[in-house]
Structures are given as C-alpha cells and as structure tokens.
C-alpha cells in the first residue's frame, strides 16, 4: 500500500515535470516560448517584430522593443502582386536594426498568420535565424506579460541579402506542371473544409475573390488550425507528424502549401518546414490566383456552379 503510494507520488511528479517541460520548452528551435522571449527582451542580438492584421493592435500595446511591420505595405509590393522587393526588404530589415547574425522573432495577432508570412519572407531572403513566438500575441497577453506603447529605437542594422531561397516559393506554372505531369509532389490545401470542397469561395466576411470554388486537383486538406492547441501554441512534433501523415504527407516528397492569399498557408509552411523539417514551398498566388486563372483545372467536390444563383 505504501509502495503503491510512493510509486503514485513518483508518477505524479514525473507527470508534473513533463507538463512543466512542455509548457516552457518549445517544440523546435525555430519556436520560442513566451518565457524565453521575456528573458531576451534586452538581448541586443534578438530583434522582435510584430506583424498583426488589425490596425491599432501594435500601437495600443506591443512587446517592449518590438518593431511594427505592416503586412499589406511593408511585406508586399503595392503596385505588383508580389512579396517585397530585395531593395525594400534590405531597407526594412536595416531600419529595424537587423544585422546578418540577428535572431529575428516574429509574433502577431490572429494566431500568428501574418507573423508566419513575415517569417516566410525573411527566410526567402536568407535571414539565417528566424523564429516564431509560440502562441503569438494572444498567449503573451493571456499570461499578463508586459506591453508598452512606446516606440522602439534601435540603431540601424547592416543586413545584406547574401542569398535568397527561391525554393521556398512556387508560382502558378510550377503548380500547374505538378498537376498536369503528376509529379511526385504533395499539394496541401490548408483552408477550411468548406473552402476546400468548394461550398464557399472565401471564409465568412471575406471578399469572394475567385471565379471558381474548390481546390487544386490532387491537393489534400489539413486546415491550418489543426496544427495548434487551444492556446495557439504548436502541437508536439509527434502530433504534428501524425496529423499530416494521416493525409499521406510524411516529408518523403516535396510539399506545396497554399490557401486563399498565402497568409494562413505561411503558418502551415512554418509548421511543416521549420518544425518538422520537411521540404516545403509556398504557392502564395494561392486560390485567388488558381481559382481565377484561365485554362487551369480545378476539383469541386460540392458541385458549386459559378454564376448561378
């Protein structure tokens, strides 16, 4: 009886220790915990960047020292549908005080969607150490951690693009080639099942920008949010492996991810490439391009016919 009690105590202690470890340790070295970030606020080699969707979120209180990037102007080109140009990217990074050896930590609202977009763009331009705050802004806030409205001032950095990583990005023609030749590539649609099946053109409240509804032929569907726990933190590596393996994605073949405009798929791109270490490219043209392109096949499981009401 006493023995059982002791074993029980030991088990409880082990469980507690495991729980504590999972609470503080991050799922990958590309993911930092809120605790880690709190301890590195004054680290001159760590630069924190907030990319939030809603205006005024950063301004009304951000993590001390964090720099604000506006996704729809800073991280894209305004007059070409494209990610930010190399010249503007260098200027942007330098203004934030980023050097080639700076650790850049992204976080944002809306489950880190656009923070992940920022991380993808930074990886594309070859920034070496790019990480994401586990649980994003919501977790930092929920833990009652420090926020400030003061603007950061960092000495300008000297970041220079050494090499871009074009393999992180694919275009319509690349995806079309995969679809038509049946190349050994997994295509992952990370939108909601209703969008994937073609029952709807866009999520509730979002502009319907495409002429066709459905998905890229051959694509499998794992909604982005299945990769995170209720508090927005990433699931464990084992859980994530299982999740994607359940639709046949195990990293043995290159992967293409897409969504509607490329923001939610940045999140899944991050999970698959930065946490699981798979070879993943993002098709940021996504459904707003594919569903509008002429002569491109789609799969529509719902039988939605465009134009008929």
């Amino acid at each position: 009886m006493r023995r059982v009690g002791r074993v029980g105590t030991l088990l409880v202690a082990l469980l507690l220790a495991a729980g504590a470890a999972s609470a503080s340790a991050a799922v990958s070295d590309k993911v930092v915990s809120t605790q880690w970030l709190a301890e590195h606020l004054d680290d001159p080699n760590v630069r924190i960047i907030e990319v939030s969707v809603n205006p005024g979120v950063y301004e009304r209180g951000h993590i001390p020292g964090a720099v604000n990037y506006v996704w729809h102007t800073d991280l894209v080109e305004p007059y070409v549908r494209d990610i930010v140009s190399p010249e503007r990217f260098e200027a942007l990074a330098r203004a934030a005080g980023i050097n080639n050896d700076t650790t850049v930590v992204f976080y944002g609202d809306n489950s880190n969607w656009f923070a992940a977009w920022g991380a993808w763009v930074f990886n594309y331009y070859g920034v070496k150490d790019v990480r994401l705050l586990d649980g994003g802004r919501a977790k930092w806030e929920a833990e009652g951690r420090e926020l400030t409205v003061r603007q950061p001032s960092h000495p300008p950095g000297n970041f220079t693009i050494e090499k871009t990583n074009p393999h992180l990005r694919v275009f319509l023609s690349d995806v079309l080639e995969v679809v038509t030749t049946g190349a050994d590539v997994d295509i992952l649609d990370i939108r909601s099942p209703a969008e994937y099946e073609g029952r709807i053109f866009a999520p509730e409240g979002v502009q319907e920008l495409s002429i066709r509804a459905g998905h890229i032929p051959g694509a499998v569907n794992v909604p982005w949010n299945l990769a995170v726990n209720e508090d927005g933190t990433f699931k464990s590596v084992e859980e994530l492996r299982e999740l994607y393996a359940s639709v046949g994605i195990d990293g043995s073949r290159p992967i293409i991810v897409y969504c509607r405009i490329g923001e939610r798929s940045s999140h899944s791109w991050f999970v698959l490439s930065q946490i699981l270490g798979y070879e993943v490219a993002q098709y940021d043209g996504s459904w707003t391009e594919w569903g509008n392109a002429v002569g491109v096949p789609i799969t529509n499981l719902a039988g939605t016919v465009w134009g008929a009401r």
Binding site: G56, E59, R60, V149, Q151, G205
Partner: protein, 458 residues
C-alpha cells in the same frame, strides 16, 4: 409623477430650497437618499459588468474599457449638458456663446492629448501613413452635404445622436423615436452610398494636417484656430448678472420640444448662479461645505471649460485604449445587418470598408460601441436622477414625427460622413483631420439653417 417631485428637502445633501435648479419649488416630499442610492447602484452595476467582461475571453479589456468610457461620457454629457444642438442653438438663437466654450475646450484638450498619443502610435507623420483607426476621413462635397443634412436633422429632432442617447437617460421620450429614425437613415445611407462613392468619395483627398505641418505645426494651427474662435465668440458671452436668457418661457411640460424651453433657461440659471452664488474660484472666502460641493458636482451644470476638458481627456483615453469616440457604429451596424439579411444590401459596399471612421459591419453581437452607448445611457440616467433632471416628457404625434424625420436625416448624414458629431466632428477634429473641421462647419450651418427655418419649433 415626475421623479423630481420625490426630492426631499430634509436630506443633508439636498440643495437649499432657494436653489432654483431643483424643481422651482415643486419639490414635495420623497426620498432623495433612495434616489442617490439608486444612482450609485446603476453605476456600480456598470462597473460590475465591466469587471466581469474583463475576464471574458474574446471580449476582455477593450469591452470593459468601452463600458467605462461610455458611462463616463454619459456622466459628463449629462452633468455638463454637453449637447451639440443645445450648444449651437444657445449661440444662434440665444446669442449666448457660453456653452460653446465646452466644445472649444474639448477640441483643444483633445487635440493636445491626441498628439501625445499620435507621437507613440506613428512617430513620423510625414510618411504618408495615417495613425491607426483615427477618424480621418475623405473631404468632399458629400461630407458637406451630409453635415448640413445632419444639422437640419438635429434642429428637427431636438438633439444630435449623442444628445439623444444621453437625454434618453433623462427620460426624453423623443429620443428613442429619433434613434429609430437614425437607424432608418443609416439604411437609406447604405442604399445611396454607391453613387456618392463613385462620383466623389472614391477620389476625395484624405487630408491630415500633421502630414503637411508635422505634429507641432498642426497642433499650433489647431490651437490658434480654436483660440480665434474663442476670441470671436467672447462678444456673445452673456453679461454677468444672468442676462443670457433669451427664451425665458416657463418650464411647463407641453407640446413644444422640451429642449426648446429647458436649455436656454439652464444656461441662464447657471450664469445667474455663477455670479450671484459662491463660486469656488470667484469667492475664495466662501466656506466649502459637503453640501456645496455636492451641489456643484451633482446638481448644478458643470462649467463649460471643465466639461469640455473632460470630454477631451475622455476622447484621447478612448483612442489610446480602444478606438476613437463614436456613437453610431453599433446603430449603423444593426441597420447594415438587417438590410443584408432582408436582401436589401449586398455584403460589400464599394470602398466603404476601407475608410476609418465609425465603421459598420454585419454583426450579430453587441460590439464595443454597443457597450459604450448602453453605458452612456445608464451613466446619464444615474446623473439625471441625482440632479433631479429625470423627467418623462410627453410624446405627441407631432413631436414624435419631427423626431423621426430628424433622426432619419441624421442617420443618412452620419452614414455618408462616416460618423456623427462625436465620431466625425469631435474625434475627427481632435485627430487634426480636415474632415473634422469641414463637418463641424457643415453641421453648424445645418443647425443654423434649421433654426432660421424654425424646424425646432415645429
């Protein structure tokens, strides 16, 4: 029986019988203590809900702050009679600029504090970016037209949208009718938005003074303009012994819009009181007692300068913590949601959702703005009770019809102007937006025309 008749002369905090503010001798018995307790209970209820909301996931601090800001706005508006229509009418009809200084004070205080907030939100105003969600709108003839319509609606219905909200708390029975009209007006606004957007708003400049002058320059210009207005209006300040009453009709409850009789009298009273009675500042020798402080805070109208400063501080606090002050967002959203559901409106309106202002959305819940205006009514009600201003006014077919028509004009105007006297005039001008000043001028013109046409006497 009007509540004011419940006030009892025996309570230690009850004003002396000579005070004309409470019921001109019509006070008969009742229990003032119970009324004070009821008011305190109302405010405590708002605070309690705010405390509870603070911990509700998905609502949190912003919802809680919205509630508190709303209650504070209601308290300030009721205690200072911060009613745009009354302020304008006292000047136009009563040749009394006294209350107008509340507005100037609000804009001056608000501008200074807005610049402090802007400095943190957007350190460099020259980049071409605008500070997040500040009410800086497109400047076009549509804005002028909307402002004039809004002003006419104010004259017709007896108050602006915020005025009706706080006077709802005073038992003003035309207020709900006017607010219903505002809802209808918003619907008409959505239906007529497209041609105005295409012909004018889509290409109208969004002018923000700091973009051209920097924060310092823009603030200096703003304060000079406000100072010049203050200087020009000095000649309309009533002479010392309370001669500011032009409309001295007896305070009977009748068919005429109550505001037409109440407010000039009020301002007259206050002026009289200020000069004859012991002001804290003017008569330093007067003994300050609990009763005199109680009177000043809870029974007499707050001085315009203090009322305005409080509004200015509140405006900046609201912008810093939640969003610029505005009172039409929830009303407009209800209209938009209903119309979308009745298939009168498509989900998208050209360009509408790309502007900052009192934004409307298709929603099925109460927004932060809804919490704000609800708390505003409660805050005003609590103060109306304590100050003896709560009185259910009589509704007639005639004054209900004018309230409805005025409300429709105001709803239409504030839809096209992306806000009302609070959202576009106050929050816009405080934000150093040209659209705020343009709307200010247009609304004033509309009220002026409305009064000259005697719309407020219909």
């Amino acid at each position: 029986m009007p509540v004011r008749e419940l006030y009892q002369g025996q309570h230690p905090l009850t004003p002396p019988p000579s005070d004309p503010l409470v019921g001109s001798g019509r006070r008969v018995g009742g229990n003032y203590g119970a009324i004070v307790a009821l008011s305190a209970g109302l405010l405590a209820a708002v605070a309690g809900v705010a405390w509870w909301l603070h911990n509700v996931p998905g609502l949190g601090a912003e919802a809680s702050m919205s509630l508190l800001i709303g209650a504070a706005f209601g308290i300030i508006m009721q205690r200072g009679r911060f009613c745009f229509f009354c302020i304008f009418r006292d000047l136009i009809e009563g040749k009394n600029s006294g209350p107008f200084y509340a507005l100037l004070s609000a804009l001056a205080m608000g501008s200074v504090l807005y610049v402090v907030v802007f400095g943190a939100f957007l350190p460099n105003p020259a980049t071409g970016r605008l500070p997040p969600d500040a009410h800086i709108g497109p400047v076009s003839w549509v804005l002028v037209m909307a402002g004039v319509a809004f002003g006419l609606g104010m004259a017709l219905s007896g108050a602006c949208v915020s005025g009706h909200l706080y006077r709802l708390g005073e038992g003003y029975s035309r207020a709900p009718i006017a607010l219903l009209g505002t809802l209808v007006g918003f619907g008409l606004g959505f239906m007529t938005w497209r041609p105005f957007y295409l012909s004018s708003i889509s290409t109208a400049p969004v002018l923000w003074l700091p973009h051209y002058l920097g924060y310092g320059g823009a603030l200096a210009l703003q304060l000079v303009l406000l100072g010049l207005l203050a200087l020009a209006l000095m000649r309309y300040l009533p002479p010392g012994k309370g001669q500011g009453v032009e409309d001295g009709r007896p305070g009977t409850v009748g068919d005429s819009p109550p505001d037409a009789r109440e407010n000039p009298q009020d301002s007259g009273r206050d002026v009289r009181q200020g000069s004859r009675e012991h002001g804290l500042q003017s008569h330093g020798g007067e003994k300050v007692t609990l009763a005199s402080v109680w009177q000043r805070v809870f029974q007499r109208r707050w001085p315009p300068g203090i009322t305005g400063a409080a509004v200015g501080v509140l405006g900046a606090v609201a912008y810093l913590r939640v969003a610029p002050l505005g009172v039409t967002s929830q009303i407009g959203s209800i209209a938009r949601t209903l119309m979308t559901e009745w298939n009168l409106l498509e989900g998208r309106l050209n360009g509408l959702d790309s502007f900052s202002g009192c934004v409307t959305r298709v929603i099925h819940t109460i927004s932060n703005n809804g919490l704000l205006i609800s708390a505003l009514v409660v805050g005003s009600l609590a103060m109306a009770l304590v100050s003896g201003r709560f009185e259910l006014t009589r509704l007639t077919w005639r004054n209900a019809t004018t309230a409805l028509a005025g409300g429709i004009l105001m709803g239409w105007g504030s839809m096209l102007a992306l806000g009302c006297t609070v959202g576009t005039l106050l929050s816009g001008t405080m934000a150093l937006a040209v659209s705020g000043w343009v709307f200010f001028g247009a609304v004033f013109t509309g009220v002026w025309a409305g009064i000259k046409l005697r719309l407020h006497r219909i």
